[in-house]
């Protein structure tokens, strides 16, 4: 998953997840239809994050996702530091 993941993310955007562009994201945020998830570290989140995002570091994803995002059908957009 490491090697192939990186090659795929360089070639396309993200390994498995459908991508969303900035404009689409802004539209969705405006209509309040999605939950924005910042998967970076809490330090990074406290210094800067996208408006309205919640912080769910990758390391805690498995442990905390259920508590933070109880509805598994809720539309989610995840992001990290930059192009991956």
């Amino acid at each position: 998953m490491c090697l192939s993941g990186i090659i795929r993310s360089v070639a396309t955007l993200g390994p498995h997840l459908p991508a969303i562009s900035r404009d689409e994201l802004m539209g969705e945020l405006r209509r309040r239809r999605i939950t924005l998830v910042d998967v970076l570290s809490p330090e990074s989140f406290s210094s800067t994050h996208l408006p309205g995002a919640i912080n769910l570091p990758v390391a805690d994803l498995a442990g905390r996702a259920g508590a933070v995002l109880p509805d598994r059908r809720t539309p989610i957009v995840v992001y990290c530091g930059g192009p991956t």
Binding site: I6, P15, M26, L29, R73, G81
Partner: protein, 314 residues
């Protein structure tokens, strides 16, 4: 991040631009965008409070030069207004008891009064009368706000320099510590492997030693993970490569020691088992979706090795 899908979330999308793309856009564009209002919960409250301060935000986004130019413009605008008001009897500026006349000298006096008011000096040689007082108050408030912004700019610039320097030192310090600790873990692993192969220590002692090494190693993996996910600072490629190389070799040694200490999995005790799980998870994340793109081609050999070793451990 595809972990979310594995956790059962069905409607997950990925914003590939991330913070870098979002922040690369003009600050005013971002601040005015209605998306800023789309926050939820705590974040939404923060957004709301910042909305009321949008004027201050807009001012602090300006450079010092732009703020100075704005100040000059205010002085000129208000000077012109004082001069125009001089045409109205009873509302004029008063200099030494006599009203300022609406002529060329009067215009200079009005500009002078405007500058004195905007700097909030107020010599008192020219004083406003009537409606001009309101203008003077408005001008001095505007001048004070702009001056405050300029001063805060100077102060925060210095602070940002200092904080940046502190961050850099702490980051390099941490990098150095991670490298040293990885080396120590590896040395310890090699020593443990040698004594295991030579049957110098009984199996329970070897297991205890393995457990403690595993715990320290998991701590180091956490540190590497943090270093990679901190967007403000990114380590040099050479440094990162050195860290990944030693990570890969530690993983290799660890696998060998694991094979030597106990052949069958059933013997693994709980602390060791949880350390091993944490190890393999962290390795997956270190080599996962969020590693900065510029590193990917040069470092993928090491990442691949680490991934493979982590899979073997799991």
């Amino acid at each position: 991040m595809s972990l979310l899908q594995e956790l059962g979330y069905t409607n997950v999308r990925h914003y590939p631009g991330g913070l870098a793309e979002w922040n690369s856009l003009e600050p005013s564009q971002g601040a005015d965008a209605p998306s800023h209002r789309a926050g939820r919960g705590v974040a939404a409250r923060f957004e709301k409070s910042s909305r009321s301060l949008r004027l201050i935000d807009a001012l602090s986004d300006q450079t010092v030069g732009e703020l100075f130019w704005l100040w000059i413009q205010i002085v000129l605008l208000f000077g012109a207004m004082y001069w125009l008001i001089d045409w109205l009897p009873g509302q004029t500026l008063v200099s030494n008891g006599a009203p300022v006349r609406p002529n060329g000298w009067g215009f200079l006096s009005a500009l002078y009064f405007s500058a004195v008011t905007a700097t909030s000096v107020g010599y008192g040689d020219i004083v406003p009368a009537g409606a001009t007082r309101l203008l003077a108050i408005a001008e001095s408030v505007a001048g004070l706000i702009i001056f405050g912004c300029v001063v805060s700019k100077f102060v925060s610039r210095r602070q940002e320099q200092v904080i940046g320097e502190i961050h850099r030192i702490a980051f390099e310090d941490r990098l150095g510590r991670v490298r040293t600790n990885l080396h120590l873990v590896r040395t310890e692993l090699v020593a443990a492997a040698a004594s295991c192969e030579g049957h110098d220590i009984p199996p329970p002692a070897a297991t205890a030693r393995l457990e403690s090494i595993a715990m320290i190693f998991v701590g180091e993996l956490h540190a590497v993970h943090d270093l990679l996910y901190r967007p403000q600072q990114t380590p040099d490629e050479a440094v990162l490569e050195a860290i990944l190389a030693s990570l890969a070799s530690v993983f290799r040694e660890f696998n060998e020691l694991l094979r030597c200490v106990h052949a069958e999995r059933a013997e693994r005790r709980l602390p060791l088992q949880s350390s091993l799980e944490a190890m393999s998870r962290l390795a997956g994340e270190i080599c996962g979706d969020c590693v900065p793109r510029q590193y990917a081609p040069a470092l993928r050999t090491w990442m691949d090795q680490i991934q493979q070793a982590a899979r073997e451990i799991a």
